[in-house]
């Protein structure tokens, strides 16, 4: 049965994840090309496009990184095809270079960039506010708040982009990407909207003489789009009263629920700002007329608030503006309760939160851990055995970052995708300390390779350990240039990492499975005796990926014959989640054990047994 996301069944209501609704909206908006680099909370958008790519009438690719994704997408849009490019918020930093010039030269087919922000850092290294990019680059910006709006705004964003040529930012946050709600479907387009490329040097080749003109054209286009924001259905006023609230993004949901709970629905004047950039100044001025106080609700930076304050000052309007405060911080997420308190404060009433028992203190934490049988655990175990605390560990972004905690303790610093090699290089050279950098296979292809070339070129003294688990595990097993298999079939031309590393000029390179303890230890000892840039590729497929995609489960599991000192040492130093301590005895949970048999190589109290025996 074809996916309901691809069916032309207008009027039907489906329960969709915000990210699935974006897929449907893009299809209704006529998308013909999709490129991405995965990253939570954006990943279900490209993963859904990928899963449906055989049935759907569009071209899809996982690109090697976000810059490449945007450049490929820009090419498609220059060729006249409506295009969606997706990434998480920090990915937009990687793509910022092409982005800030694409807005000058335009994307005639229409290009929408999905930026999935993460206030609260649920799964990210920072909580930057990517609405800044709308201002920095000159991008109209939509901010959906519900699953239905994810669908409708993705469609409208593509239409606007196709009509004006201006790239459009679809900015979501984790709560919106991962909301699930009813979505009423619209029509799929009857015809493909295409705009064949017409050569125009002044427009598409931004040499300085052209850029100076293009910048002014960009400002003119944004001024025209501002008029659309003024009368957009996504910027609407409701309710009445002396208190006004301007809300954007998910705050609009919190506001609606908060007003209901305070019994104030309809008694506060509300401006829903869904099409949030360029700001509709005339609408804002009209909205604040006759208000005594206006409260601005926006997560992270006070962009709407500061714009409003500047606008009021310019127009000589005197009005109390409330925004960022102790109740409404510039960090983290908002909530219905925070909005309730802010409204109460704005009305001069006492804040009163819901009663609840105190959060239980001192409970055993449950930090995410490397899976049972994960080859990264074996890699870290041996690296620590050889280098211990003597080395400094430069980490990178992926599942393997989870090795930061004891007993593996395999991360001393971390920046962003691909940084482990270059940051480690700088650290090693400046400090003269032994430095080991870790990077995953997907991250190596993403942007690690440039750091490696630099390490060779500048003769940095660093050992790079490439943790090659044959997939992009952290974000949900997306393929990358090196994989053998994907969920929809084999990769015909996998790119091997070792020859690539050699071609970068690295002299000392070795590849082996980290699950072979003795050989890995020997290889690490050899590498330790050498200097300059060295690379050890520790390669073994992700256990979850093997099970899901290739259906492989190892026939044997580990078991403990007798709990000895050695066995307890392994329990403490390996921290495999399949181990259990019951009283004084150590046991291996057969269901969790992947059968990697690494523990058997560390102590003879561990034995192999047939599953179910």
């Amino acid at each position: 049965m074809p996916s309901p996301l691809l069916a032309d069944t207008p009027g039907e209501t489906l329960l969709l994840l915000g990210n699935e609704a974006i897929v449907r909206g893009a299809l209704e908006g006529g998308v013909g090309f999709v490129s991405c680099y995965p990253g939570t909370p954006s990943s279900e958008v490209p993963d859904t496009f990928f899963r449906l790519s055989r049935e759907g009438d569009y071209i899809f690719e996982y690109s090697t990184n976000e810059k490449v994704a945007l450049e490929v997408g820009a090419g498609a849009a220059l060729a006249g095809v409506p295009t969606l490019v997706t990434m998480k918020h920090v990915g937009v930093n990687v793509a910022a270079d092409p982005l800030l010039t694409l807005s000058y030269i335009t994307a005639p087919g229409g290009l929408v960039l999905l930026s999935a922000d993460d206030p609260g850092c649920h799964s990210s290294q920072n909580e930057q506010d990517n609405r800044h990019y709308a201002r920095l680059a000159g991008l109209p910006c939509f901010e959906p708040a519900t699953a239905q709006e994810c669908k409708d705004m993705a469609r409208d964003a593509l239409h606007l982009a196709h009509r004006t040529g201006q790239p459009v930012l679809l900015r979501t946050t984790t709560r919106v990407n991962h909301v699930r709600g009813p979505v009423k479907l619209g029509n799929l387009p009857a015809e493909k909207a295409r705009k064949p490329f017409v050569r125009n040097l002044q427009q598409y080749v931004p040499i300085p003489a052209h850029s100076r003109v293009q910048h002014r054209q960009l400002l003119d286009r944004m001024a025209a789009i501002r008029q659309e924001a003024e009368r957009s259905r996504w910027n609407k006023v409701s309710g009445q009263g002396e208190l006004g609230v301007i809300a954007s993004g998910i705050c609009r949901c919190y506001l609606s629920d908060a007003l209901f709970e305070e019994g104030l629905t309809g008694q506060v004047k509300v401006l829903d700002l869904g099409f949030s950039y360029p700001m509709p100044d005339a609408l804002l001025l009209e909205f604040v007329k006759d208000l005594k106080t206006v409260l601005v609700l926006e997560e992270l930076d006070p962009l709407v608030e500061e714009h409003l304050r500047a606008l009021l000052q310019r127009k000589g309007v005197s009005l109390e503006v409330l925004g960022k405060s102790e109740t409404l911080p510039v960090w983290g997420e908002y909530s219905t309760d925070m909005v309730r308190q802010a409204i109460r404060q704005a009305q001069g009433r006492q804040a009163r939160g819901p009663e609840h028992c105190a959060p239980e203190q001192g409970l055993a934490m449950r930090p995410p851990n490397l899976c049972a049988g994960c080859s990264h655990r074996a890699s870290y175990f041996t690296v620590r055995e050889v280098y211990g605390d003597e080395a400094f560990y430069s980490s990178d972004i992926g599942c393997y970052t989870l090795g930061l905690l004891p007993p593996l303790s395999a991360a001393d610093f971390l920046l962003c995708m691909g940084a482990s090699i270059s940051t480690g290089s700088g650290f090693a050279t400046a400090s003269g300390k032994t430095t080991v950098a870790f990077i995953g296979d997907s991250t190596f292809f993403h942007s690690g390779i440039t750091g490696l070339i630099n390490a060779v070129y500048n003769r940095h003294n660093i050992l790079l350990v490439i943790l090659d688990n044959r997939t992009t595990a952290m974000t949900g097993h997306q393929p990358h240039p090196g994989v053998d298999h994907t969920v929809i079939g084999p990769n015909e031309r996998p790119i091997e990492i070792e020859p690539l590393v050699r071609a970068c000029g690295v002299e000392h390179v070795k590849s082996l499975s980290p699950l072979n303890h003795k050989a890995t230890k020997k290889a690490l000892e050899e590498m330790k005796a050498l200097s300059g840039p060295r690379v050890l590729i520790l390669r073994d497929p992700c256990v979850i990926h093997e099970r899901r995609v290739n259906g492989k489960v190892k026939p044997q599991a580990a078991t403990v014959a007798e709990t000895t000192e050695g066995c307890l040492d392994v329990l403490g130093s390996l921290a495999c989640p399949a181990f259990l301590k019951e009283g004084d005895a150590v046991r291996v949970d057969e269901e969790m054990c992947s059968g990697c048999m690494y523990c058997l190589q560390l102590d003879k109290s561990f034995k192999a047994k047939k599953r179910g025996a």
Partner: protein, 195 residues
């Protein structure tokens, strides 16, 4: 329509998100205005999974003291999430545990069922703990522990729809091969709840 907030908590791999989706789908099929949310960046790696189903609200988020119902798929996580429950709200939880690494390696303690029950009773009007995994095994599939819990919650009317609606959803949305075991799981959960 009764506005309701339901908070789900569990550990990656327990089917917390499947249960959340099943409740949302059932609510939608029953014509209820449903919104659901999930935070699951690290769920795969044994981390905590928290999710929500809200009827009549737009926000997918629940903060401390806002949940009318707390569904706890793992004992320790139920205790951790107890502060989300509104005083006088209802709690349905799994009495069985999945020890975190620090407990499994003997470095931290795990709370007893009795202590969690006592703390829950100080907050909730109804507290119901049942051995979901054991009942699921009796039903014929250990993976149906999440359905056992839903059966129990539905039986004490903590869900916004009746048992028939939930049974329809099990048939309609879960893997056909596991439908019978899951129906049995609902029944065993309901029985345990009403005993």
């Amino acid at each position: 329509m009764q506005r309701t907030r339901i908070f789900f908590t569990g550990v990656g791999g327990q089917g917390t998100l499947t249960a959340t989706k099943l409740v949302s789908l059932t609510a939608l099929d029953e014509g209820l205005p449903v919104t659901s949310g999930e935070i699951h960046g690290m769920a795969q790696r044994g981390g905590v999974v928290e999710s929500t189903v809200l009827i009549g609200y737009l926000s997918p988020k629940i903060t401390h003291g806002e949940a009318d119902v707390l569904l706890g798929f793992e004992l320790l996580e139920t205790l951790r999430a107890l502060c989300y429950l509104k005083p006088g709200g209802r709690l349905v939880g799994n009495s069985e545990s999945l020890p975190p690494l620090s407990v499994a390696t003997g470095k931290a303690a795990y709370p007893s069922l009795e202590s969690v029950e006592a703390k829950a009773k100080a907050v909730a009007s109804t507290v119901l703990f049942l051995p979901c995994r054991t009942l699921a095994q009796q039903a014929g599939a250990a993976q149906s522990a999440n359905t056992v819990l839903l059966g129990a919650a539905c039986a004490i009317k903590a869900l916004p729809f009746g048992m028939e609606a939930l049974e329809r959803s099990v048939r309609k949305y879960l893997k056909p091969a596991l439908a019978e075991a899951n129906l049995k799981a609902l029944e065993l959960g309901a029985k345990a709840a009403l005993r």
